[in-house]
């Protein structure tokens, strides 16, 4: 009996402690605000935030905003995937080009590309195109790097089998190299999509245009504190769900990883 309860504690104990700590923190903050230790004009009551969720969803056109942000992410994601894989494949094919530019692509990945949004605003205007292009610029480098890594990591024996069947270079790429590299490429796509999502929401907030990012800016400018906090919680929820879905998809593609 003791062994069974020990097993249950080992299995579920950490999750209970984790969620319990979060719940206790929320209750503690509620008490501190109610007794006046925390200023309620700076931090709204968690209970107020919970109540304002319904208001924000109904009055602030959350479905439309969500679809707009999702559409921008999708457009940026498609661009990142198509251009990233194509450029990665080109770098893999032309070894000299890879040697010359791979370090630049790596530098691009570490560069604060999101800070170019004023430049993109001048070029594309205060529009969805700016947001999509910012998402694209942020997500491109990991897809290129992971595509090169995946194609270079294809097992030699598979390539030799292809050559023994007299496959053309095109057949070798589509029938052997690309399928073998797909799991690694998907890691890059997952990273690229996460970077794109972060930048899409961030730029929406910064330029006050679009979907969920703009909602936070709007509510903050109206000084609707519970609404602002609720909108932030909603964006966090969407990001976490998106991240979890991408992780599931990656596990499905790479069962052994």
């Amino acid at each position: 009996m003791a062994a069974k309860s020990d097993f249950v504690w080992q299995k579920y104990g950490p999750a209970i402690v984790g969620f319990g700590a979060v719940a206790v923190s929320i209750i503690f903050i509620e008490i501190l605000i109610r007794i006046g230790v925390i200023n309620r004009f700076i931090v709204p009551l968690p209970s107020q935030i919970a109540v304002s969720f319904e208001r924000v969803i109904l009055e602030e056109e959350i479905p439309r905003r969500f679809l707009q942000t999702a559409g921008e992410c999708l457009a940026a994601g498609i661009l990142v995937t198509v251009v990233g894989i194509a450029f990665g494949a080109l770098l893999h094919r032309v070894h000299l080009l890879r040697q010359a530019t791979e370090i630049w692509v790596a530098a691009m990945a570490s560069a604060p590309t999101v800070l170019m949004y004023p430049l993109f605003m001048v070029i594309f205007g205060r529009s969805a195109t700016t947001i999509i292009m910012m998402g694209f610029a942020a997500g491109l480098a990991p897809v290129i790097l992971k595509t090169v890594e995946g194609l270079s990591g294809a097992r030699r024996v598979l390539i030799n089998v292809g050559r023994s069947f007299n496959l053309t270079e095109r057949q070798l790429f589509w029938k052997i190299l690309f399928p073998a590299a797909l799991p690694t490429i998907f890691v890059g796509i997952r990273l690229g999509l996460i970077f794109a999502l972060i930048n899409v929401v961030g730029v929406e907030f910064l330029i006050n245009f679009g979907g969920l990012g703009q909602l936070i800016n709007d509510l903050a400018e109206r000084y609707d504190l519970p609404g602002t906090y609720a909108a932030i919680c909603f964006v966090i929820l969407v990001s976490v769900l998106f991240f979890m879905a991408m992780e599931k998809a990656e596990k499905w593609l790479r069962p052994g990883a």
């Binding site: 104990g13 950490p14 999750a15 402690v17 984790g18 700590a21 979060v22 700076i42 931090v43 000299l96 080009l97 040697q99 010359a100 530019t101 791979e102 370090i103 692509v105 790596a106 530098a107 990945a109 570490s110 560069a111 604060p112 999101v114 800070l115 170019m116 949004y117 004023p118 430049l119 605003m121 001048v122 070029i123 480098a141 990991p142 790097l145 992971k146 990273l191 996460i194 999502l197 972060i198 930048n199 929401v201 961030g202 907030f205 910064l206 990012g213 936070i216 800016n217 509510l219 903050a220 504190l225 602002t228 906090y229 932030i232 964006v235 966090i236 990001s239 976490v240 991240f243 979890m244």
Partner: protein
């Protein structure tokens, strides 16, 4: 003849870095610059959106050397006054403010992240309890917390430092926790067999074994803190590099905006490469 060939080969080898890769790099850069100049001169895009490369170079020179002003450098630590006034180009005053904000953000977010990461990495139960929360919160866009930071810390540097600290906290925690878990168990057992006390174990085994992980954490944290702080400066500020970029945007001074972005990118990539070299981290494989 043979001697001539030998001398030619020696002189070819003596010019380092002029291999096919370097030549290709030069060709790519030259092509980009030439295309840029053609686009700038053609007027295909709106006038001044793509300024001439020479206009950008001139703006870069002006940015780094002109508009001299009195810059107040304040590094006071509590009762210890460390404050002085210097005459220098305006850019360096803004750079100084931004560097100070990023440094403080890295110190606060990075140090707290490192401490919590080490604790989570060393304790499996705590790791399983809290790491999933941090793991899933990590990739959320942190800039959305900026309205909260303004309410808590005001419009001054405090909210920018807070933004940077929140941004860099998550990658540092996760990287440090992973670093602790990756320490070779054999090393810890060797320490125990030598009866090393807690301090000796920490300083002689844990810290040296974790050096790459800690440096990688700092590298990740610096990059993210830089983005968080500068984005906050572009949103609402009257000082710093982010403010300079937005000022150029509002004045439609495109060469100055390009110049500011070039300096910023060079500094960011340079700092990242420096820390990568310090920890012997491959800049390509560490993405």
């Amino acid at each position: 003849m043979a001697e001539t060939r030998r001398l030619t080969q020696t002189s070819a080898r003596a010019i380092p870095g002029l291999g096919a890769v370097t030549l290709l790099r030069i060709a790519i850069i030259a092509t980009i610059l030439l295309t840029w100049e053609l686009v700038a001169a053609s007027g295909w895009l709106y006038k001044d959106v793509v300024p001439s490369f020479f206009a950008i170079a001139k703006a870069l020179f002006n940015l780094l050397t002109t508009r001299v002003m009195v810059c107040q450098a304040d590094f006071s630590l509590g009762p210890i006054p460390l404050r002085w006034e210097l005459w220098m180009p305006e850019f360096y005053c803004h750079l100084g403010r931004t560097v100070r904000e990023i440094g403080l953000a890295l110190l606060i977010g990075g140090f707290s992240g490192l401490l919590i990461g080490l604790t989570l990495g060393a304790n499996r139960f705590l790791s399983r309890a809290f790491e999933p929360v941090l793991y899933y919160l990590g990739p959320t866009p942190k800039i959305i917390f900026f309205p909260i930071m303004i309410m808590w810390f005001g419009l001054g540097p405090g909210s920018k430092v807070a933004m940077g600290a929140v941004s860099c906290f998550f990658p540092v925690v996760l990287s440090a926790a992973a670093g602790v878990r990756e320490i070779d168990k054999v090393l810890i057992r060797v320490g125990k067999s030598f009866r090393a006390n807690a301090w000796q174990t920490a300083t002689k085994i844990y810290l040296p074994a974790m050096r790459p992980a800690i440096i990688n954490s700092v590298r990740l944290g610096l990059g993210i803190a830089l983005i968080g702080t500068l984005l906050a400066e572009t949103k609402l500020s009257n000082f710093g590099i982010g403010f300079l970029i937005m000022q150029a945007y509002f004045l439609f001074d495109m060469p100055r905006m390009y110049a500011s972005l070039i300096v910023l990118f060079v500094l960011a990539i340079g700092a990242n490469s420096f820390i990568s070299r310090l920890g012997h981290i491959d800049p390509i494989r560490s993405r």
